[in-house]
Amino acid sequence: MLFQQVIAGLITGSLYALVALGLVMAYKVTEVMNFAYGYMAMISAYIFYSLFVVFGLNYASSFALAVLVGVGMGYVVERGLLRPVRYISPTSMVIITLGVLLVLQGLALQIWGNEYQHVPNALNGKPLIFRTFGGIVVIPQQSLLIVGIVFATVIFLFLYLKFTYQGMAFRATSQNEEAAKLMGINTNLNMSLSWMISGALGAAAAILAAPQTFVYPDMMLNLQIMGFTAAVLGGFDSIPGAIIGGVTLGVVDNLVGAYLSNNLRATFSLAIIVAILLVRPEGIFGRPKSRRV
């Protein structure tokens, strides 16, 4: 029972990690908390639903096109709405993301209505079943797909950021925008890129979560809260922190649901945020920011 819950937690946690990773990618470079993140992802989920379920396009093409929409939304929001006020009012940027949230929610209601739309799993084959010291563990193929995609994404991002010139330029921009410009790095491009990657990660998370959550305008609300919690837990400017935070939260969340009460899951996540902010505001892997005085 316990082992099954831990495995289930790891799977849920990998989805939280993907959401948290998207939030952190955008925040690291532009220092903007994107409150519209889940709703941008929801639009991608609807695009996926329309292509895959309504128009009958194959899963991979529908997935790729919906993720591309996520990329495009990330670019449009950063380039069109946030950048014009970037050096004028950082607070306005956060308010803009709240505005985007409301617009996208209204847009989804207008286009698709508020009914729950069902999206089938990509993989419906025989689940992986194995016996362990605590009993029998069952892992559906869809869950393996989720973990596989998250794992591949994390590996790709790690290699990109660590070993390519563009990745290094990306990290440099997130640390010191002015110095990065002095190196010849197009920091504006990196800012757009961070939001495009964030949009892609959110879209992927929403599509992968859709068979469980169904597709509706507020489908990503819980996932966004969990992703936010995971990012705070790990440290909002830390990519490894987002991943570890997500996975840890997933396991804790499942254990609370299994052994305490399902109703306490969200409460517990919020309690974690408050506790971390009180004890270690920069998160477990985050670095405290020093300012010149």
């Binding site: 010139y165 290094m168 330029a169 990290r171 440099a172 640390q175 010191n176 002015e178 110095a179 990065a180 410009k181 002095l182 190196m183 010849g184 790095i185 197009n186 920091t187 670095r287 010149r292």
Partner: protein, 239 residues
Amino acid sequence: MATEHLLEIKNLWVKYGPVEAVKGTDFWIDRGEIVSLLGSNGAGKSSTLRAISALVKSEGKIVFNGRDISEYPAYKIPFLGLSMCPEGRGIFSDLTVEENLALGAYTVRRNRKKIRENFEKVYSLFENLADKKSQLAGTLSGGEQQMLSIGRALMSEPKLLMLDEPSLGLSPKLVDMIFNILKEINRNGTTIFLVEQNAAMALALSHRLYVMQTGKIITFGTPKEIDLNTLKKKYFGGV
């Protein structure tokens, strides 16, 4: 073409809202020179440097190597051969020494051979850095961070190296060392433009000096033409 200046500034203005930091400044720098811009706090020295690098908006004409760069965005300027070590060093603290230097070569990143050669040049110039390649830049001492900042700027083989207060916060011994290295860099063919408050060191190092006060160049000349004591009394409040 051979007689044209490497950098020529005409009627440069920098404004921060209603505050005029630089007020119609004109000056030039020739190839192979070490030129210093002196002045007290708030004279407009750093704003001048930041305007040349396009880190702040400015009005006026900035011509570098025969090209008008007044409207260039900041990130395109290093590609022309103009590097800057900003005030406060501007290193990437969470990146290693080697990653910082590699980013200095961002403009020549496709030329692997050149990058390797420049790594060797920088490490021979700053031996301390060679021993700390894998160390995070933020953990280096102040002097080492300044070396890293200069070394990083050299990685792109600039025609003009601009430095904003390289002696700030360093011990006299380290300042001597940094200034000797700057001389060597200049001997190897790089033109240097230095913004400094350390007038004595700037006089000892430079071929020519400009003195700035309240946003305007008020005097210029060679170290022989500019007397240090007069300079201190007149422009630095007798410090």
